[in-house]
Assembly symmetry: C2
Homo-oligomer: 170 residues x 2
């Protein structure tokens, strides 16, 4: 079963949000546009993650679309560490969006800023639907795909990923 599920195609993104003076970001593979008129996107985030609660309380998030050549160490910083332990934005290039939400621009070919419109509790994760308030292309680089991250770069999924298959515990 896992082999078929693993052939679904995803990109690799940093999703960021803010709560008061605190900012955080995490790696998400599940970002999709869900309507074109008006433009809305969805992301799926683990309830265990700090950013999950920040997005729900601020109602705002950004999605940075990572370049294919993004170093594993950069993904590891956002994907395998907790914002409860470190400030993930320390020494990382970012800008503040129209809505005040931080947007990672380092290793990003573009970004999307969104305001939460709806949410759906699917168990361990929440699907958050955001109205797109800004979307900017920064470069012509190719996006990183999750299969490239996994198969070519040798990257792994943390336990909180929707696609987690137990690999990180082995």
């Amino acid at each position: 079963m896992d082999e078929a599920l693993a052939s679904v195609t995803y990109g690799v993104y940093v999703v960021s949000s803010i709560a008061g003076s605190r900012r955080n970001g995490l790696i998400v593979t599940t970002c999709s546009q869900v309507t074109s008129d008006p433009p809305k996107i969805s992301i799926t985030v683990s309830k265990e993650c700090l950013t999950h609660d920040m997005i729900r309380s601020s109602g705002r998030f950004s999605v940075s679309i990572l370049k294919r050549d993004t170093p594993l160490s950069f993904i590891g910083r956002f994907g395998h560490r907790s914002g409860r332990d470190i400030d993930k934005f320390q020494d990382v290039e970012y800008r503040n969006g129209k809505d005040g939400v931080p947007i990672v621009t380092e290793n990003a070919l573009g970004y999307i800023e969104a305001e939460v419109d709806q949410e759906l509790d699917v168990g361990s994760h929440t699907i958050l639907i955001g109205r797109v308030i800004d979307a900017v292309r920064l470069s012509d680089d190719e996006p990183m795909t999750y299969s490239y991250y996994r198969d070519v770069k040798g990257g792994r999924s943390p336990r909180t990923a929707p696609t987690y298959d137990g690999w990180a515990d082995r």
Copy 2:
């Protein structure tokens, strides 16, 4: 704005369902796993499509993961024609799933069968969440990505796609 949204990564899938003796399928790019325990997937389908109503009435659907070398004509059959006018399964290889739902196996490297668990109305489209009841890998082929379909094969999105950018009308 469209350029940044167009750099989100998707695969290309045939989603099929059944209502009584009638079967239909359509092309979807927005398929994601949303939880791993239990495994659930989401798809986003236009309310205008016949398959949308079939999935909602039967509570069942299948997702066929298309191979990278799938001919444009095959995608056009499922993506740019309506099941109201033709039987899309005529002369196409398929099998019936555990739940009786048709599953396209032609040009598919694998498939996922699901039972609808939840749904979210996001305007022009519905996000359907399905519990995975079966998932089978059929071959080792590479999956088709939406960017490959669009940039290399020259394929287009119909008006009912969440990623529609007006191109089909030009």
